[in-house]
């Protein structure tokens, strides 16, 4: 479980100014903001644009292009479930169906009152030990439906 502080515009400004000297600073800034707050609040877009001498459209465009960047507060647990071919070969789609049918959890939607989000990713590089998922940054191999369901419902219980 990850707990992020609430968005703090002053803190966010200082993150932007601390990184704006980098070549091609947009992605490092967005990553740093998301790492700090769990998401990138749209109110920071004009600040980044000004710091990098770019248009707001260019910053908004970058945020919306990449799957990783979120514009609303993060749930307390993020499960990135691999649904690429190597994990398909070991039944990841069956697990997805099982979650929907037996637990009412749709991959891609926020579940359990925004405590847990389960997202689709394509390949975590654990193709010999699939199915795989990245849970709050920790890689899990040989995942099965029961463990996945437990991870989804385990909100707030463990650290």
């Amino acid at each position: 479980m990850v707990r992020y502080p609430a968005w703090d515009q002053d803190e966010a400004r200082s993150i932007v100014s601390g990184l704006s000297h980098l070549e091609g600073a947009t992605l490092p800034i967005l990553h740093a903001l998301q790492e700090e707050f769990g998401y990138v609040d749209p109110q920071i877009v004009p600040v980044i644009a000004y710091a990098l001498n770019l248009s707001r459209a260019e910053i908004h465009g970058a945020i919306s292009f990449y799957h990783d960047f979120k514009t609303s507060p993060a749930p307390r647990r993020v499960i990135k479930l691999c649904r690429a071919e190597a994990c398909q070969a070991l039944g990841c789609e069956t697990m997805v169906d099982h979650l929907a049918r037996d637990h009412g959890i749709d991959v891609g939607a926020l579940a359990h009152s925004h405590d847990v989000a389960i997202e689709t990713v394509y390949c975590l590089g654990n193709c010999a030990l699939g199915p795989a998922a990245l849970v709050d940054g920790e890689l899990i191999g040989r995942l099965d439906a029961d463990l996945l369901a437990a991870l989804c419902s385990h909100h707030g219980a463990d650290a």
């Binding site: 465009g61 071919e85 190597a86 394509y122 390949c123 193709c127």
Partner: protein, 522 residues
């Protein structure tokens, strides 16, 4: 603690090993040793690549390293009881690591240190021949380094197989105030993990390879563009770069010479298209990762429109060995126009999955059946996808093909990044064809119409085929669409999506004519 010299115990820190409990095993070994008053030094090495044996614990003995695996935390006390610190017998004892069949059959060149050393120990790196390639390079002119790489026959390991030496020569000959070295570490293909294993297991090797490139062409800045799905590799690279800077390997003066080289890791953000080199450069510049039209080629106008070498992790990582041992020694491995070694990654529904480094030319069947032991499920192999999501699906009858660029191309398949994904007979190839389009639709950068629109039309067409609507007509549409995407897409994303689709259609036609299930879920 006794005064006896401590026994070295190796527990991998590789993400795949961690994914099946290596961290807990390392802690259990430490706890158990302390409780028994035994002195052990736990070294967190990379993985040997025998991933089905992870967590694979090794103990250093006078006779060599003895392997135990797969070790669960519950096994640790029993291992101590049986005296595993002296390499004693136990049901998990596999014998000497180096003598295991999987290890003996390989030609480990690029991966020779991985699993052997502590990835973040620069002194381990030097002990095991690290930096010898760079030292050799520093005694040569740029043109001589480029010529050595060219003569080795090394071809880009990212998938396209372009001769590395020719790319380097173009950048070497270009005139510019600033040149860049960029490593494409956006290893997004399912079934591939060699880059990840290398970056986690021997990060100094990548740093050395990029530094040699920088010295060769006169570049002073470099970036490793790493996919965000690899947090463990990010940590390893960041720490290794810091250590390399502190040791004078990177910075204003590379090993005390006049060459400056500054290296940084940059994280991607979950876009598969960034594995395409021009969209990767756009992303590094901070933009939406929209593919660029070529020409101009990145070697002349790359990052920030400056001459740029963009190579895959494995291409850079092959270079130090080539410099140290000579171009001919590398070229002596392999066959035809595929010279050197290839790290093959075996994944999916496979009993013994992992990484093997072999000279080009071994057959797929030997890899999947002899090394891999067939499927994990125990069911017959039905399909094998080689070369990632844009690679062809082969049938069990086609597995005698050799693993090299030309042999695979001759059966309308591709080697790609050397990933092999095995499926058993429960696979539905029409669904796999649909997925190829779905993946392309999600990951297309949107610049060219055949890819952006074609992928979505492809999903719709496959849905109609699966649902049994006018199958012959829709299969004709599917073939037409595939031809258009192949011929008219700007890059490999749209251009190669037809490869898995067409191979599924041509080799597994029966799956496109299955009875329609009542109330199909989708």
């Amino acid at each position: 603690m006794s005064d006896a010299p401590s026994v070295k115990v190796f527990v991998p820190v590789d993400a795949a090993a961690l994914s099946v409990g290596a961290e807990a095993v390392a802690k259990a070994v430490a706890r158990e040793a302390e409780a028994r008053g035994l002195s052990v030094e736990i070294i967190r090495n990379g993985t040997r690549g025998m991933l089905w044996l992870e967590p694979l614990v090794e103990v250093e003995t006078p006779d060599g390293r003895i392997a135990y695996g797969p070790v669960a935390t519950g096994d640790v006390a029993g291992l101590f009881d049986s005296g595993f610190l002296s390499g004693a017998a136990h049901e998990l004892n596999l014998g000497k690591t180096e003598e295991l069949d999987w290890m003996k059959r390989q030609q480990r060149v690029t991966f020779e240190r991985i699993g052997v050393t502590d990835p973040l120990s620069l002194s381990d790196y030097r002990t095991y021949d690290g930096l010898k390639g760079l030292q050799k390079a520093l005694s040569l002119t740029g043109a001589e380094i480029v010529e050595t790489v060219r003569a080795s026959g090394l071809r880009g390991r990212g998938g396209a197989g372009f001769p590395t030496g020719i790319k380097w020569k173009t950048v070497h000959d270009a005139q510019a105030e600033q040149k860049y070295i960029v490593c494409n570490a956006d290893e997004g293909d399912s079934g591939t993990f060699a880059d990840r294993m290398l970056m986690e297991g021997d990060p100094f090797l990548l740093i050395e390879g990029m530094t040699i490139a920088a010295v060769a062409v006169g570049a002073t800045r470099g970036y490793i563009y790493l996919r965000s799905e690899y947090p463990h590799a990010h940590k390893a690279l960041s720490r290794a770069i810091l250590k390399a800077e502190n040791a004078g390997l990177l910075g204003d003066s590379v090993l005390g010479t006049n060459h400056a080289f500054h290296l940084e890791v940059r994280l991607g953000a979950g876009a598969y298209i960034c594995g395409e080199e021009t969209s990767l450069l756009e992303s590094l510049e901070g933009k939406r990762a929209i593919v660029r039209a070529k020409p101009p080629i990145p070697a002349l106008k790359g990052l920030f429109a400056k001459p740029t070498i963009v190579n895959n992790v494995l291409s850079f990582a092959a270079v130090p060995w080539i410099l140290q041992h000579g171009a001919q020694a590398y070229a002596d491995y392999g066959m035809g126009r595929s010279r050197g070694t290839l790290p093959v990654q075996l994944g999916g529904n496979i009993k013994r999955g992992g990484l093997v480094e072999l000279a080009f030319g071994i057959s797929l069947r030997e890899i999947i059946e002899d090394l891999g032991g067939g499927t994990l499920s125990g069911r017959p192999i039905r399909a094998v996808q080689v070369g990632g999501p844009l690679g062809a699906y082969l049938t069990a009858g086609q597995l005698d093909v050799a693993m090299d660029y030309e042999a695979l191309a001759s059966i309308k398949a591709m080697l790609g990044h050397g990933g092999i994904v095995v499926f058993d007979d429960t696979v539905d190839m029409a669904r796999q064809a649909r997925f190829a389009f779905e993946f392309c639709a999600k990951e297309s950068c949107g610049k060219c119409t055949p890819c952006r629109i074609g992928a979505t039309r492809g999903v719709e067409t496959m849905d109609r085929i699966i649902a049994g609507h006018e199958r012959p007509k829709n299969i004709a549409v599917l073939r037409d669409l595939n031809k258009l995407m192949t011929d008219a897409s700007l890059c490999a994303m749209g251009g190669l999506t037809p490869m898995p689709v067409m191979s599924a259609l041509n080799h597994f036609a029966e799956d496109f004519d299955r009875p329609v299930l009542p109330l199909a879920a989708e």
